[in-house]
Amino acid sequence: MDISFLLSQLIGGLSTAMLLFLVSSGLSLIFGVGKVFNFAHGSFYLLGSYLAYQFINMFTNFWVGVVCATIGAGIFGMVMEFLFLRRIYGRQDEGGFQILLTYSFILIIDDMVKFIWGSEYKTIEKPEILIDQVQIGSIFIPKYSLFILIVGLLIAISFWFILNKTETGKIVKATAIDRDMLGLLGINVPLVMTTVFGVATAMGGLSGALAAPLRTVTPGAGIEVIIDSLIVIVLGGLGNFWGALLGSIIIGEVLAFGILWVPQWASLLNFLVMVLVLIFKPEGLFPQKKGGRV
């Protein structure tokens, strides 16, 4: 095993990790911070990829298409939240109803997508400037992977900044702790919840749109997303973006090296990691300091 090979596996794992982080960022926001478990997170990812396909073809421009898809997914999320999720806040056993409601979203969105766009596979191409590879030494990295890396980092930094360094962020984090109290303090809690949900689904849509050039746009593409995202945010600590980033990197690298050393069992390693972390460090690798700890 030579160094350049190990390095290329490492970087490959990193590239997987960044996309994984991008995909789970929305779930991290809504679950970790908003305390709403959006089972349908994968469906917004799916929606994002289809909207991107639609808008890219409409405007024949990749960037415009992606932005429209992100906004579209966000708006759709806000509408779903406003019409349906709102009604179950504060209910006894809210958690169970969140699951049921968001599961019904999955069924509805997935069928809607099939109805509008059909069952065939659609495809999105990478934008011209991101097609080739970049060469660093003897390692080749596709430009698109670098792009994803940059976008992922930007998102991690922005969210960290907004949540921890601004007033808005404090309010958002407070909704996870005590919604009623916050309402008493004069904050428009429903508006905050809707906005947060919208941002989270927009993130889901963005990740779907950006992942689409690398994958297939097909009904059913959202289902795997939820499992991977769950594992990442559990590893990283709920609501912690740096934790989610680290969690993604761990999962990415575990897979990258797992397929070399235990190829027969590589696909189960991420569950094993999840089990080990939950047994030994259930709050995740980056436990939230104070508040929100269950």
Binding site: F5, S8, Q9, I11, G12, G13, S15, T16, L19, L20, D110, D111, K114, G118, S119, E120, Y121, K122, T123, E125, Q133, F140, P142, Y144, S145, A211, P213, L214, R215, T216, T218, P219, G220, A221, I223, E224, V225, D228, G252, L255, A256, I259, L260, P263, Q264, A266, S267
Partner: protein, 412 residues
């Protein structure tokens, strides 16, 4: 009563009797995935079934029988599919079970077929088991099994020569594993020596193959054999292309790689020089039957068919021909006998060969054509299709009783 009146009454009665004869509807209960990733195959099958039914009814069936196909989404879940099959048999009173894309579902449904003595015509799933050690007399399959594609693949590799190192990547479940097992078996049988430099088992529907791609490139095989289907093929090719994998080794995908929906999804992104096959090709053979089938499908659907369509089409014709031979749709044992050895001229038959059902295993015997991708814009949105086809003799691919014995010993 006057003679005229009684004649009229008799005439009316006769008319009535022949009308009720003409109305005998024979139901076929089809199970297909209509949602999720397999939904495309279900949809294509549905369209092809309509086309086949039109043809069958135009030609007519004995006693004015009309075929009616009921389709239910089996959700690719074996337990749910069994419940639907029971509904088909005991409520809809179907005379045939039909279809199925997922081999796991097929294995569960074939049990229902066996226990209820209802003929089950499989049209898309390819697990060899069903026509080998899990054979039961009421099961027939009208599309090829993975052994046929892999044996043809092994022959191709033997003819090609000039390679030593081989690696395999396929989804981590029975379909992926069986293909690799069968390719190795076939290569060994043909006396080809090879060196396996890597085996990779991403999970089914794996979205990110990056780490696999970098590992494969480093293992430096001469040939990479792939066992994906559907969207996974598209994702893998897209991601592998970005790493330049295809210029470093030959990509070999003999069972489902060349399926039309993969070409259509990749468009101009599909690289040239990939060696692939499929259970039916839109552009091969260049026979009037195939052209007519593809055109009819395009007219109905607005796009070209994936290979699931031809399987469903063949299945309906198999049933129709059996009914014609026996004269009715009720004598199950006679229908089984009629299907055994039945010859069916299908769109995928080249000139000079007609597919037929092997009487001992109930598996359709047909040629396999392996091609190489090249530019071809005749079937948009695909821009690259298979060409330079090498055709393999159907009888050399199946039946292979040595392999069936091998399966009996190694699999439950």
């Amino acid at each position: 009563m006057s003679k005229k009146l009684s004649l009229c009454v008799m005439f009316l009665l006769l008319l009535f009797a022949t009308q009720s004869f003409a109305e005998q509807v024979v139901k076929i209960g089809a199970l297909y995935p209509m949602s999720g990733r397999g939904g495309l195959y279900g949809k294509d099958s549905e369209i092809a079934i309509k086309i086949a039914l039109d043809e069958v009814h135009k030609k007519g069936l004995p006693k004015g029988i009309k075929l009616d196909v009921i389709i239910t989404d089996d959700q690719s879940k074996p337990d749910y599919a069994v419940s639907v099959a029971k509904r088909y048999i005991t409520e809809e009173k179907v005379k045939f079970l039909f279809g199925v894309v997922s081999s796991a579902v097929a294995l569960a449904v074939t049990e229902v077929s066996k226990n209820n003595k209802i003929i089950f015509v499989g049209t898309d799933h390819a697990a060899t088991d069903l026509t080998a050690q899990k054979f039961q007399p009421y099961y027939f399959r009208v599309s090829n099994n993975t052994y046929q594609s892999m044996m043809a693949g092994a022959m191709y590799l033997k003819e090609m020569g000039g390679w030593k190192k081989i690696a395999y990547i396929g989804p981590d479940y029975a379909y992926g594993r069986d293909q690799w097992m069968e390719l190795k078996y076939a290569l060994d049988k043909l006396g080809v020596t090879y060196e396996v430099v890597g085996e990779y088992w991403p999970k089914l529907y794996e979205p990110d193959y990056t780490s696999y791609i970098t590992a494969i490139i480093n293992a430096k095989p001469d040939i990479l054999v792939a066992g994906f289907w559907g969207g996974d093929t598209v994702a893998f090719i897209k991601q592998a292309k970005a790493y330049g994998l295809f210029s470093k080794m030959k990509y070999f995908h003999p069972d489902a790689g060349g399926n039309y929906e993969v070409m259509a999804a990749l468009g101009k992104e599909m690289p040239e020089g990939l060696i692939m096959s499929a259970r039916h090709h839109v552009n091969w053979p260049d026979t009037p039957e195939n052209k007519a089938f593809v055109e009819k499908f395009y007219k109905q659907a607005g796009r070209y068919p994936s290979y699931a369509a031809e399987g469903a089409y063949a299945g309906i014709h198999l049933i129709a021909e059996a009914i014609r031979k026996v004269g009715n749709a009720d004598d199950t044992e006679a229908l089984v006998k009629a299907m055994e050895g039945m010859k069916l001229r299908l769109p995928e038959d080249p000139k000079g060969f007609t597919s037929y059902i092997d009487p001992k295993t109930h598996q359709i015997v047909q040629v396999q054509a392996i091609g190489v991708t090249e530019k071809n814009k005749k079937y948009p949105p695909a821009e690259v299709m298979l060409g330079k086809f090498k055709v393999y003799d159907a009888n050399k691919l199946w039946p292979d009783f040595d392999y069936i014995e091998y399966l009996k010993k190694t699999k439950k």
